[in-house]
């Protein structure tokens, strides 16, 4: 199926306007990938040799590994047709007029402020949260919390960075992880010292650097013993990206007694392939929660995972997937129980509409020796139209006897009686459907920070009205 064609060419603005940084060799602005480009990316960033070596080795793995044969249809990805390193200003969309219609309409309907619209669409300029961001940073520094862009973190905190980087998701874990390890740029680095509780959710949104829109973000979060932090990325409003491949890697370490929640709401424009590897390890008495909302992109393949490595660790994955016309959300979660008395909960709610397709793909694995562990997986799918499709692929590998493992799934449509009842109360069919769909996803939406929840509900309403996308 042909993807919507971003209106503009991918020539960086700098080049078009004749601006050109004499230090940067021109060849970096070509498409395609090879070892020289990988080395050049590292050189431009001024990285230590070990990181350069790691990137080059990862590139070798990327070349050698075949693409996965399962999941969505990735035949539309041409790895040589991508810019692998573009600086912030180059990424900017030429003009507001080039932003696809459906995105502009959604912004209007959602009432997004002017400046924010431009920021989300990547249309030059900077979002004026600069001041807010600085204040937050000061507070955090006082507590000893490190919250930086990943590039900066590598420079300023090399030791701790090196200790953990690539230990949760090694380069050779899968082809896309290898690609990310080779060309990563941007992302967040967070370290929370023992016993520190970060009250305010940390948001990537507030970081000015435009690597927010990054194709190959690399995030590393370390919550030391007894600490807690909530990290939020993305937003419900559609995010326009000219880059068609987004392949991020997120590694999280939750130490003894610590607690981390990582919330993502993704609503990439419909030209994007969003293939992400996210994995966390939770030690004794630790809690890890992934809240994952997949609304956009042409194809998303994402299975946030939790390895429960210490006794009484607990992991949760709350996942919402919405697939409209031509979209395929292939998402879910994986939990690996590797210690006794560990517990996990995976809740997935998916909605497919028009010709959309949602697939839940998950794994619960229990190693021998993990006595008294419990896991519950609950997947519910709502199919809103006759041409939509829903799949469920729940894998289970249970090698310990003294456990309680359960999985339940249902697939349903909007009940005609339900609809009739609501419509008889004066709601239009679209309004009634929206209400039912919002009710369906309510258990997960209520876990989102409020402004996201509100936007999510409004977005569903717009989708149901067929007013957008």
């Amino acid at each position: 199926m042909a993807l919507p064609n971003p209106a503009l060419s991918q020539v960086p603005t700098g080049y078009k306007y004749g601006w050109h940084d004499a230090e940067k060799p021109l060849h970096i602005f070509k498409k395609g990938l090879n070892a020289e480009i990988v080395a050049e990316i590292s050189r431009i960033k001024g990285e230590p040799k070990w990181m350069t070596d790691m990137r080059l080795k990862a590139y070798r793995h990327f070349e050698a590994r075949p693409m996965p044969t399962w999941g969505g249809d990735m035949s539309g990805i041409d790895f040589q047709d991508i810019f692998y390193y573009v600086t912030g200003t180059d990424k900017a969309v030429q003009s507001w007029d080039d932003v696809p219609d459906y995105i502009r309409r959604t912004y209007d309907r959602l009432g997004i402020p002017e400046a924010e619209k431009k920021y989300l669409a990547g249309v030059g300029g900077q979002y004026d949260s600069e001041v807010v961001y600085h204040n937050i940073r000061e507070d955090l520094e006082k507590q000893g919390v490190i919250f930086l862009g990943t590039d900066q973190a590598l420079k300023e905190h090399e030791e701790i960075f090196r200790e953990y980087f690539g230990t949760i998701i090694p380069a050779n874990d899968n082809k896309l992880a290898a690609l990310n390890t080779a060309v990563w740029s941007g992302g967040s680095f967070i370290y929370v010292p023992p016993g520190v509780h970060v009250e305010l959710p940390l948001q990537a949104y507030f970081r000015i650097n435009t690597e927010n829109m990054g194709q190959f973000e690399r995030t590393l979060i370390i919550a030391d013993e007894g600490s807690s932090v909530h990290y939020v990325e993305g937003c419900t409003a559609p995010t326009y990206s000219t880059a068609s491949l987004h392949s991020a890697v997120v590694e999280i370490i939750v130490k003894k007694g610590a607690r981390v929640r990582y919330t993502t709401i993704q609503n990439w424009s419909h030209n994007v392939y969003n293939l992400v590897t996210k994995r966390a390890v939770a030690y004794e008495d630790a809690v890890m929660e992934w809240v994952d909302g997949n609304l956009g992109s042409h194809l998303t393949m994402k299975y946030p995972s939790i390895y429960l490595l210490g006794e009484r660790a607990h992991g949760e994955v709350l996942s919402i997937a919405f697939a409209g016309d031509g979209q395929h959300q292939d998402a879910g979660g994986k939990v690996i129980h590797a210690a006794p008395n560990t517990t996990s909960l995976i809740t997935s709610k998916s909605i497919s509409k028009g010709t959309g397709r949602t697939s839940y793909r998950g794994l619960v694995k229990v190693y021998p020796g993990c006595a008294k562990s419990k896991s519950t997986v609950r997947c519910d799918a709502l199919i809103l139209s006759d041409e939509a499709r829903s799949d469920t692929y729940p894998y289970m590998e249970i090698d310990e006897e003294d456990v309680t493992i359960g999985h339940e799934a249902t697939v349903s449509k909007v009940g005609s009686e339900q609809l009739f009842y609501l419509m008889s109360r004066g709601l239009s069919e679209a309004e009634a459907s929206a209400m039912i769909v919002n009710g369906f996803i309510e258990p997960i939406v209520k876990e989102l920070p409020m402004e996201y929840a509100v936007e999510m509900n409004r977005l569903i309403q717009l989708q149901m009205e067929g007013a957008v996308g």
């Binding site: 230990t167 949760i168 090694p170 050779n172 390890v281 390895y307 490595l309 690996i336």
Partner: protein
């Protein structure tokens, strides 16, 4: 020859520093390695994650990297240093008897 050791059939001079090899010994499959620092170690050859052959992987410092998904094990203790494996592998002491590489099996 060490009292409880098994000759691997490997000659120390044949193994480059910073590499690992597969050795079949006494019904066991082992991954034997020589670090850049000149130390010998051996661990079980099968990765506990998905059955990858560790002896066909790479040696990075003291860590053996599984060729299948990049999991890492310490060559001397067998402990996991990078996911996706979570279960450690057994490690064995290695000594040299002249040029002969010898592994002590229990």
């Amino acid at each position: 020859m060490a009292p409880s050791g098994f000759a691997t059939g490997l000659r120390a001079s044949d193994v480059s520093p910073g590499t690992v090899r597969v050795v079949e010994l006494d019904g066991r499959s082992l991954c034997v390695g020589l670090t850049e620092d000149g130390e010998w170690g051996a661990i079980d050859n099968v990765c506990t994650h998905d059955g990858g052959v560790l002896g066909e992987g790479e040696l990075d410092g003291d860590l053996v990297e599984c060729p299948r998904h990049g999991g890492r094990f310490d060559l001397f203790s067998g402990r996991v240093r990078a996911l996706p494996p979570v279960v450690p592998v057994k490690a064995y002491r290695v000594t040299l008897d002249g040029d002969e590489v010898v592994v002590e099996l229990p």
